[in-house]
Amino acid sequence: GGTAAEPPAQEAAPTEEVAEEVVEPTEEVMEEASGDCSDEAVLCIGLVTDVGEVDDKSFNQSAWEGAQQAAEALGAAEVNFIETKDAKDYGANIALFADQGYDIIVTVGFAMGEATIEAAGTYPDINFIGVDQFQGEALPNVTGLVFHEDQSGYLAGVLAASLSQSGTVASVLGTNLVPPVVAFNEGYKNGALSVNPDITIIDTYHPGGLDVAFTDPEWGATTAAQAISNGADVVFGAGGKTGNGALIESAGHDGVWCIGVDSDQWETVPEAHACLVSSAMKLITPGVIDLATMSANGEFPGGNFFGASGLAPFHDHEDAVSQDIKDLLDATKAGLLDGSITTGYNPG
Amino acid sequence: MSNNDASIVLEAKGITKQFPGVLANDRVDLTLRRGEILALLGENGAGKSTLMNVLYGLYTPDAGEIWIKGEHVILQNPGDAIARGVGMVHQHFQLVPVMTVAENVILGSEITKLGGYIDKREANRRVRELSEQYGLEIDPTIEVEDLPVGLQQRVEIIKALYRQADILILDEPTAVLTPQESNELFRIMHDLTEKGVSIIFITHKLKEVLAIADRIVVLRGGRSVGAALPSESTEASLAELMVGRKVILQVDKDEAVPGKLVLEIDGLHVQDDRKHEAVKGLSLQVYAGEILGVAGVQGNGQREFVEALTGLRPSTEGKITIMGEDATHLTPRRITELDVAHIPEDREKHGLVMPYSIADNLVLNRYYRAPYSKNAILDREKIAENGAKLVKQFDVRTPSIYTHASSLSGGNKQKVIVAREFSRPVKLLIANQPTRGIDVGSIEFIHNQIVAQRDAGVAVLLVSAELDEVLSLADRVAVMFDGRIVKTLPIEEATREKIGLLMAGSEA
């Protein structure tokens, strides 16, 4: 099996085929594209998305922004992405970059972990940044960029419980098949309970398959609506576009707060500004930048690298969040860092 | 303007219609005068229906002109024809089965209140009115699929009358009628001509033509091959004109020599599709070497009876014995295996697979047997040979054995079925309406085949609404009424009148 991932080593593509940078207008990239990635001096960063697009307003997008900013900062000649349509293409898509002699390849999503490790074996002198990929045993040229989702989830829970008037808070989630989502939710529930032991928490995972769980905004919206009519006045939307649906829906109901996920969704889901008090973030973008920089400076750590996680700013709702709540959040954050507070989430 | 004769209501000039591979109409001329009944004769595939469809605006002719009431018209669609008072009862009824009689009648010229709401009550009233006016008894509220063919045809006629047609085309209207129903229809046709309606009447039954036609036109191979007057014609002369050769009309057969009992049916009960009892305790016997003709008006349970007998429909009570073996609950396959041949009533539905080649259709119930297949693998060569042989032997008019059954004319479709069922050794032959809608040439052929089978010692069960057919073929006549055999007579005692009465339900 898995042979799809084996590289066409000898048939490396001729250089004129070298990719242009995609998201920006092609012209200006053209000449800069002359740089040959296989050349030691030239830095090239490639990114392979999980099944999904680099504009998913979620973790693919955050990773891609990280890659771009890193390229900017490090003066990379190339930064390019490939969107995976078929999960079986992970290996092949990685190989497309590797064969061009790219120096850093970002692979997004836990699902790509296996393909990444396989590729790392075949291309020992390329550094791989595996977003959401927890490394069982450490390889020198693979670093798993992982996060304490349970911790930012926990903070979100604390915020939710503190804001809730009704004593009912909800979470609308992508599938339970994806560990980070479960981590967010478990943290969220325990965080809420830590504030109000008798709070009612209604949480729902998308019941569909992996291929639709994150791309079903209408399900997210209608589920949020049902949660709200069940009395929930805070909705935590965690699950890509499905979660976004929940956020936008909540924005339509007076007296309901919503909390986003992954990145600061204030930027990515403006439709939800009315209710979006904060987001439980896993800071993928800076994480990718940090690791890329380390790689460029020859200090690539390998193993697992924990990226920062926490709550996004409250933006327009600054005043809605009382000072007490803010203090409580800071205290909790400190406690989580020094270990005096545990989220009660243990994977596996 | 060619013909100023005011009495001419419809005139067709040089109508030519080409179908892929077939020149269906070839420069045909036709005139119809006010209040006359014009009979149109011709073999299967002669082009009668095609010509009528052209006059009705359904087909656009490749060449030719149509004049209606002195006006040159170009009929884009039936709407145009209807607007000019042309009505047509099609050979294949054009009724929507799941709709009621009234709905079918008003379809296309509905009686509506505002917002296009259909006034069902008014529609029913109008239909009742028409059916009383012309003595066409019918219940407007029945769904057409629940009606026997005879009644379905009334609906077709009422459809035309409802649209106030004064030029009425009847394409083989009597093909599915009993003598009584036919006479009824002729009466109606006369009444209509009295009222100034002109009628084109297509049939394969020469008796009828001689009985009621004012003029006769004969088509052959798409050409008009002559006109005749009933007064100056005989069945024989017309038949010859149609087929282009002498035709022996009455089957000549010698005394039957009945052998042992082949089929015995005892107190059979069968339900129809709507779970209503259609066969109510039917009993009969058929012996080797005889033809038992079952006469009866359409819809008295014949279909259900035959389907139960051939395993296509479960029976609820009673016993069927074939060659001494209990065949009451056998599958169609097992019954066929008992050397039973079956010519089904509905050739399009049961008899043939339209998209299959003639060759494939000719092995429809034998494909699994040697020589057509060996250990579950078809032998294409053998199937082809069989096809070629039978097409020649049974004179099926087709360009090739690979032609799809769908593109054959009615008569030739039936020939394919007959060829299939007669070309293997059988002990019992079940023929249901074997010659419906078929031209004299083919009828003669099929009748002779049936008699030949009888003489070869086959027990023949002939179910037919065609009284003449029963009388000319059967050795014994069983009359079926309301799901039972009400009486069985030796052919000598079976007079038209007596049978006719029995068929109508009155004990004679």
């Binding site: 639709v212 009519s229 339509g252 | 509905e110 769904e143």
Partner: protein, 339 residues
Amino acid sequence: MELTAKRQAESSNWFIKNRWWVLIGLILIGSVIYAYATNAVVTTAVLASTLRQSTPLILGALCGVLGERSGVINIGIEGQMLLAAFVAFLANVYTGNLLVATLAGLLAGGVMGLLLAFMSVTLKMDQIIGGTVINILAVGLTGYFYVSGLTTKGKFQPIPLGPLADIPLLGPVLFRNPPITYLAIILVFVLHYVLFYTRWGLRTRAVGEHPSAADTVGINVFRTRYINVIIAGAIAGLGGAFLTLEGVGSFERLMTNGRGFLALAIMIFGKWTPLGSWGAALLFGFTYAMQTQLQFSGVNLPPQFIGSLPYILTILVLAGFVGRSRAPAAEGIPYEKEG
């Protein structure tokens, strides 16, 4: 005559004929009242969610019914909805006017309907293929032209219908809905009326059952099919518009997520009648709502089990109650008008 008697017997005892529906109806009403008595909040929540989730499904199903009643199978509902959702979304983004956006959605759906009609009526293409073309095309076009970062200017909000909206249970469930939901319910009854009580409906059904019969009485088969399929497309378009303008308020690739195919199933489930389809769509919406409510109530089952309920239930109901359903007879067969 005898047949008449039978007929009257049949039609007279409608209750016996539809005993299952009557029974189901009674059971439903009874249990709703009971549920409301025991837990008003949850009951309201579930029923409201039921109606909402049934809305895109019934709109899709109505599209199917209209097309198939005129003899054109439409398995392209999914694509028609998706593309219309996208167009409505863009219109909303650029005009900010929800009404214009809705019309844009209707138009897009209608155009897709026109395409289907052209393929199946004029080109006499196989209708399964025609629908599949539309589905793939919609996925391709929406995916290719979608650019992220477009944000809409809001979505339809509920419009309480005066005093009606304050009736307990019924108020929040039926009379506090956004416009497209109201429209969908009205459409169910309008289409049922049109199909079974008006001239247009009679002709449409005739064309779907027996086109040559319709033809011989001067009904233009092609025109009838074109018009029905185009209108049907527009209705599917409304379903798409619901997703982007009323449900989500934004567009995502593949956001129909198979609702068009479910609609197809619902249409058959409902025996090709608008009312029947509505019943089926509501049943679906209800099972979805229940499945969510079960998770809310924290039952300890894997979501995959709960997630299967709607589909298994449908199969059971289908096999148990509805049974054989008869499609319009001429469905799927292009009308060949010789000469």
